[in-house]
């Protein structure tokens, strides 16, 4: 969908209205979406499309995806969560996922930050060094 500058600006304003203490308030998000839909503006779909993108990026910033080959023991999970909270604040939600391609080790992604301690990453680095 073609999103023009004005729609982007409006979506950004609406997104900022949904923040409370720099965190997204879900009830506000629902309210905003409902209001834009009922307003019936011609550029409504474009605004909502960009609004959705901003929400997605915000969600990614506050979500830690922890990937491993085996199930991570509970104590290790707790240690990882504690470490992530120390670094990224208390509002990071963690998701554990299974990814056999890693061969061994753990890969953590929070927004655009990646901590890759997997064997696959090391093999790739080794391959590049050749």
């Amino acid at each position: 969908m073609k999103v023009n500058k004005r729609a982007k600006r409006d979506a950004k304003q609406l997104f900022h209205l949904c923040l409370v203490n720099r965190l997204l308030a879900e009830n506000r998000v629902r309210h905003v979406v409902q209001r834009v839909v009922t307003a019936g503006r011609r550029d409504g779909p474009a605004i909502l499309s960009h609004f959705r993108r901003l929400l997605r990026l915000d969600r990614a910033r506050h979500t830690a995806i922890i990937e491993s080959v085996t199930v991570v023991p509970a104590d290790v999970q707790a240690a990882i969560e504690a470490g992530l909270m120390r670094r990224y604040g208390p509002h990071v939600t963690t998701t554990f996922a299974y990814r056999p391609a890693l061969i061994a080790g753990v890969r953590i992604q929070v927004g655009s930050d990646v901590y890759d301690g997997s064997v696959q990453a090391r093999l790739t680095a080794l391959e590049k060094s050749f």
Binding site: R53, L54, L57, A60, G105, V106, I108, Q109, G111, S112, D113, V114, Y115, D116, G117, A121
Partner: protein, 510 residues
């Protein structure tokens, strides 16, 4: 033994392999050599981005939710959603003497099939130009070997002299002549073991040129034996706009290495009109706001930051220099277009080539009235100043009088003499391409013209006279030429000797 095993086990248990933090993003949009990447929150301007599959990108736009990256290389394998990561490195190119004699692309990779380039030094492509305190004034000449330039529009080491003109007026030829002249001077100094001579290395940057044109330039330089002192950096017309935009900066980085290491270099940007067009293309694809003629607002800054990198640095900083010869192609002689006026105002003078003169047979087709060198006269050889000081004025007078004489009115003897002298000077300045003339020969020839030795020669025979006189000097009076070259000035004794030689020649020449 059990203790040892326990120790090793303890060490293994305690060993931690730190996972390095990486900054990644994913490609959101891809097309026309430009990618929009979401994420990459740590990306820096001009940072290299690893796009996978050995493809590299360069960050040009930093936006709130994404970065705009120009892709260097084949982007056909990339697709939306692919992962990209920051490298923490700015775009760099190999530099050093190992590049001499080579033809390379924008990344400094060889294009000539002569094997890999052995250089362990790299310079960033974008670099801040030397500041005021590092610079010193231009006072050493660049001998182009083109008589009209060395006599009337002298260029100094560290100067930026624009070469401007319509298509097919001989802009590139002037630059190639200059490169050949430097190679000849370098070779002569090497052969004579002259350690006081500072060799001038040349870099020819081809921006958006046809591959055949670049191949021709290489062939000419090879034939003239100039390649060992030259580097050719090429981004041909078939390359992406991103590569064409970056190539002069890569060339400048290679030239800066010579300057930073106390050597002298000359860089030719052929041409900045095509460079501006490539930058406009990149900017439009990056959706930057466009201004006059759809060029982005920073097209002046684009060229000023490039040309400011040409400088002569002080003794404390190695006494090196980088001379720039940017080329601009005008449309129907219009020097008041956007990019030409920008570059004219940035440079320290311009050599303007006229189509009319070119087709009248005046080659190089330099328009003396519109050409100027703002700082080069300080670098001109004293002997040349002595003989050519009045030339520009005389030619200006000649043009004025010649225009007046077209009305067919009777002319007084003085005016007629001025017109005759002007015609002969114009003939003397005609020169065959790729045959630079050594400065000492130029001095002797211009001295002969100024002292009336050519006045009796019919205008159509002036070039034959000049050619024979030059041969006479080079073959029979090498010592006289060597003295002019060594002393850099025309003493009374030298003038007397020149007179004797010129008299002897005119008696024998028919």
């Amino acid at each position: 033994m059990s203790n040892l095993l326990m120790e090793i086990e303890a060490q293994i248990a305690g060993a931690r392999t730190a996972a390095a933090r990486q900054n990644v993003g994913s490609i959101r949009e891809l097309g026309d050599g430009v990618a929009k990447i979401e994420g990459l929150t740590d990306a820096m301007l001009n940072e290299m981005i690893d796009l996978g599959d050995g493809v590299t990108g360069l960050v040009l736009n930093l936006e709130e939710t994404e970065v705009g990256v120009i892709i260097l290389g084949d982007y056909t394998q990339l697709k939306e959603g692919d992962e990209a990561r920051t490298t923490g490195k700015l775009l760099q190119v190999p530099v050093g003497k190992s590049l001499l004699g080579r033809v390379v692309n924008v990344l400094g990779q060889p294009l000539d099939g002569k094997g890999p380039i052995k250089s362990d030094i790299s310079y960033p492509v974008e670099k801040i130009a030397p500041g005021i305190m590092r610079r010193r004034s231009v006072d050493q000449p660049v001998q182009t070997g083109i008589m009209a330039i060395d006599a009337m529009i002298p260029i100094g080491r560290g100067q930026r002299e624009l070469i401007i003109g319509d298509r097919a007026t001989g802009k590139t030829t002037i630059c190639i002549d200059t490169i050949i002249s430097q190679a000849e001077l370098n070779k002569a100094a090497e052969a004579a073991g002259d350690s006081s001579y500072r060799p001038l290395y040349c870099i020819y940057v081809a921006i958006g040129q046809k591959q055949s044109t670049v191949a021709r330039v290489i062939a000419v330089l090879e034939e003239a034996g100039a390649m060992p002192y030259s580097i050719i950096v090429s981004s041909a017309a078939s390359d992406s706009a991103a590569n064409q935009y970056l190539v002069p900066f890569a060339g400048a980085a290679m030239g800066e290495w010579f300057m930073d290491n106390g050597m002298d270099a000359l860089i030719v940007y052929d041409d900045l009109s095509k460079h501006a067009v490539a930058y406009r293309q990149v900017s439009l694809v990056l959706k930057r706001p466009s201004g006059r003629e759809a060029y982005p607002g920073d097209v002046f800054y684009l060229h000023s930051r490039l040309l400011e990198r040409a400088a002569r640095v002080g003794e404390k900083y190695g006494n090196g220099s980088l001379t720039a010869l940017p080329i601009i192609e005008t449309q129907a002689g219009d020097v008041s277009a956007y990019v030409p006026t920008n570059v004219i105002s940035i440079t320290d003078g311009q050599i303007y080539l006229e189509t009319d003169l070119f087709y009248q047979g005046v080659r190089p087709a330099i328009s003396v009235g519109l050409s100027v060198s703002r700082v080069g006269s300080a670098a001109q050889l004293k002997a040349m100043k002595q003989v050519a000081g009045q030339l520009k004025g005389e030619l200006a007078q000649f043009r004025e009088l010649a225009a007046f004489a077209q009305f067919g009115s009777d002319l007084d003897a003085k005016t007629q003499a001025q017109i005759d002298r002007g015609k002969r000077i114009m003939e003397i300045f005609k020169q065959t391409q790729y045959h630079p003339i050594p400065v000492e020969v130029q001095v002797a020839v211009i001295w002969a013209v100024q002292n009336g030795y050519v006045d009796r020669v019919p205008v159509p025979r002036v070039r034959a006279f000049q050619s024979t006189f030059m041969d006479f000097l080079v073959t029979r009076h090498v010592e006289l030429l060597a003295t002019i070259k060594r002393e850099h000035t025309l003493s009374d004794a030298l003038k007397a000797e020149l007179k004797t030689v010129a008299d002897a020649f005119t008696q024998t020449w028919t």
